[in-house]
């Protein structure tokens, strides 16, 4: 049975939404009667923007429950996609941590209830099975597993790397928590109110303006809002690299393997450390120090870019160019150098 504290820990679930609806508070009275909620929502977003974390204040449960929809309303009013993603990722990381420490009954209740992790709820069963040295505690129907796992590009999330039987995929508690956290993130990104439908009272509009300013400042100083310097279309990059770059430009969360691949590829074609770091600035969980460390490490080690076969298994290969679909390149770097040669040749021909 979920408690009110659970609603504060998981304020996006259906029960929390129902609880907020029952309070019947409109946005005007919120500013006047519950200034704590407004300032908590403000604080949440400040921390999300500057540190990429969604903190938890156990001291005031009601405020915590209410601050979530208010923070989301602010995000909708600002209409900034980078902020929306950064908020969803930070919230999902918090949810993942809470879920790992949760009792089995609570996990079942949250996962199965319609509207929390999916429209109809997940078909999830608690059942312990040992395979080798690994203990699996959960099994999830493959359709629910796939709905989330396809967003991960890490090979360990491929269904073939999990025990699958009679329609169910076995998961450890840690894996289930990660999947549920991702589902929470996707639900946040799915639901949005268009900016034009939002009218805010003066007092709240001021707070929203402050957050908007902070977003702008942060983007200017940290993300530096420099467009990723690549020729997105018609360029010399192979389709797999272009696809990742387009997503990086939009600020979508790239998987670990995608980040490594992009990093290795760019270093191999001679991009400078600074240029490679810049490619990751729009990531919702961007951390300059960590990114710089990875890039420097990769550069020192001299890693080469993954082969096409490896990229295929990670689902990163996008064989939209005939060189790829006809198997004429074995490594994306070959594509790049060959295209560079061909386009250089074409240019010099047209100049003649």
């Amino acid at each position: 049975m979920l408690t009110k504290e659970d609603l504060a820990k998981y304020p996006s679930i259906e029960l929390a939404r129902k609880y907020v609806r029952q309070l019947n508070i409109d946005i005007t009275s919120l500013a006047d009667e519950f200034p704590d909620v407004i300032s908590r929502a403000h604080q949440i977003l400040r921390e999300v923007i500057t540190r990429g974390v969604y903190t938890y204040l156990a001291s005031s449960i009601d405020t915590e429950i209410l601050a979530f929809p208010v923070a989301r309303l602010f995000i909708d009013a600002i209409g900034d996609e980078w902020l929306r993603r950064r908020f969803a990722v930070a919230f999902s990381k918090r949810v993942g941590k809470f879920l790992q420490g949760e009792s089995n009954d609570k996990i079942l209740e949250i996962a199965r209830m319609p509207g929390n992790v999916s429209e109809s709820g997940w078909d999830l069963i608690y059942e312990v099975k040992r395979v080798g040295v690994k203990y699996y505690e959960w099994k999830l129907h493959f359709k629910d597993y796939l709905s989330v796992a396809v967003h991960f590009h890490d090979i360990t999330w491929k269904m073939c790397n999990h025990p699958v039987s009679n329609g169910y995929v076995r998961l450890t508690k840690r894996e289930l928590a990660r999947l549920m956290a991702e589902a929470f993130k996707e639900r946040i990104l799915e639901r949005r109110v268009p900016k034009r439908f939002i009218e805010l009272p003066e007092k709240i509009a001021r707070t929203v303006k402050e957050i908007e300013e902070l977003v702008k400042r942060y983007k200017k100083e940290v993300i530096r809002e420099i467009p990723i310097k690549v020729e997105i279309s018609g360029g010399v990059y192979p389709p797999c690299v272009q696809f990742i770059l387009e997503r990086a430009e939009k600020g979508e969360n790239l998987s670990h393997v995608e980040r490594l691949f992009l990093m290795f590829f760019m270093l191999n074609i001679g991009k400078r450390e600074e240029e490679v770091v810049d490619l990751f600035r729009k990531m919702p969980d961007f951390n300059e120090e960590r990114t710089r460390y990875y890039v420097r490490h990769a550069k020192n080690k001299g890693y080469t870019a993954h082969n096409c076969d490896t990229l295929k298994t990670y689902g990163i290969c996008k064989p939209t160019h005939r060189w790829c679909s006809e198997g004429r390149v074995k490594n994306p770097l070959t594509f790049y150098y060959r295209m560079l040669y061909v386009s250089g040749k074409r240019r010099s021909e047209s100049e003649e």
Binding site: V133, F142, L146, N161, G167
Partner: protein
């Protein structure tokens, strides 16, 4: 290769008689499906067609007499809409295509041919990248079918069904196997859980069935240290999914007379192969026990087991054509229609009848005899219990009507 008018007219009249004399069943939820047709003597395909009644469907087939007929795997709100956005995709059956053309079979070297479109040079087997005579790259492949390649395809269907039943929990009544009328089989899964799967989710299912992206460490095959010693542990027969399949496949490989060939192909060094061959029975017993014992042979470490595992995975994976499963707007052959390249019936088969199903007998519909002249070399083929050919170019032969239709539709012969 184009057929002459007389040939086209005969084939069309035979198809017309088939559609007139048989009440072709409509596919499930037919009013929500898109249909597509290719007509005799006409280029291109009529798409975005829909039927609101069974009578309308039958009348169309009888009037238009399609050379090839297709229907969508998907259900739409408005199947007639001219573009995909307008159709309103509601869901789609999960479809798998197993095509003998994509399988490596020894018979291809005997019956497949190629023709250089520049200089006319021909050859047997897989087409070369460049013509052996004029070095042109414009080469046409002429593929053939025989018992061997269609049996290979059927074996792949059985492998696929095993995945669907055991791992995905799909029941037999939710699965329909259809002989495509030419080189292979289609497997349709009509189950609520799969209807709304996206393309990416379907691709992941293909990867599962074809074993793409497996890391054996994730199946539990690892080396662990204890008490200053290293041990190899791994999945056993009580494992699930690929773990169990891996153990079963290695046991099968070690029980087969081809073990040495498999080990050489897996890149195992000669010295290690000798150890494995001598101890093959020991391996079978150790892996058949629960828990399994992987650490039984001195000199056979984790890297050797990983190589063996990769070879075993390839043997167990089913070879399915990925684009067909992933495309949620795909048109597939209409059940009970006739295939324009063979005259064979696109035949649904129940899972229990699959073993006995004989495409060269059970998909044959035409009766009677006719004389034809061969305009190309025609490899041996079988219709029912009778084997025909091979026939040389220019040879005149009187053949049963089903064999006539087959050779005319394959465009190797024409009517006199």
């Amino acid at each position: 290769m184009k057929s002459n008018l007389k040939t086209v007219l005969l084939l069309k009249s035979l198809f017309e008689a088939y559609y007139r004399e048989n009440d072709i069943p409509t596919p499930p939820h037919f009013s929500k499906r898109e249909f597509g047709f290719m007509l005799w003597g006409k280029e291109g395909m009529i798409r975005h067609k829909t039927f609101y009644s069974r009578t309308e469907f039958l009348t169309f087939l009888r009037k238009k007499v399609p050379k090839n007929a297709y229907r969508s795997a998907a259900y739409y709100l408005d199947p007639e809409a001219q573009n995909m956005e307008g159709k309103g995709w509601v869901g789609a059956d999960l479809i798998f295509d197993i095509d003998a053309d994509h399988l490596t079979t020894p018979c291809k070297e005997i019956h497949d041919r190629w023709i250089c479109m520049e200089c006319g040079t021909t050859g047997i087997g897989k087409k070369p990248t460049r013509c052996l005579n004029c070095k042109s790259t414009v080469i046409n492949e002429v593929s053939w079918i025989c018992d061997q390649c269609l049996n290979f395809a059927k074996d792949e269907v059985f492998k696929l069904l095993d995945f669907l039943f055991d791992d995905f929990g799909i029941s037999e009544k939710e699965v329909k196997v259809v002989y495509s009328g030419h080189r292979g089989y289609h497997v349709h899964v009509d189950n609520e859980a799969v209807k709304e799967l996206s393309s990416d989710e379907r691709r992941e299912i293909v990867d599962y069935i074809s074993g793409t992206g497996i890391k054996v460490e994730n199946l539990g095959l690892i080396e662990v240290s204890a008490g200053g010693r290293k041990f190899i542990i791994g999945p056993d027969l009580t494992s699930e999914g690929w773990g169990k399949r891996l153990v079963k496949s290695i046991i099968k490989v070690f029980s087969s007379p081809d073990l040495d060939k498999v080990l050489i192909e897996a890149g195992i060094p000669k010295r290690k192969i000798d150890i494995l061959l001598v101890n093959r029975e020991k391996v079978v017993t150790a892996l058949s026990s629960v828990p399994s014992r992987w650490d039984i042979l001195q000199g056979i470490g984790i890297s050797i087991w990983k190589n063996i595992a990769s070879a075993a995975i390839k043997k167990t994976a089913a070879q399915i054509d990925e684009p067909v499963t992933v495309d949620i707007h795909r048109l597939i052959r209409l059940e009970y229609s006739l295939h324009g390249s063979t005259g064979f019936k696109v035949t649904p088969i129940s899972v229990t009848d699959l073993e006995r199903f004989d495409p060269f007998k059970d998909a044959i519909i035409f009766k009677g005899e006719k004389e034809v002249i061969f305009k190309e070399y025609c490899p041996e083929f079988r219709i029912g219990d009778e084997v025909f050919g091979p026939y040389q170019k220019g040879q005149k032969v009187e053949l049963p009507l089903s064999a006539v239709v087959f050779t005319l539709a394959k465009a190797v012969a024409e009517l006199l």
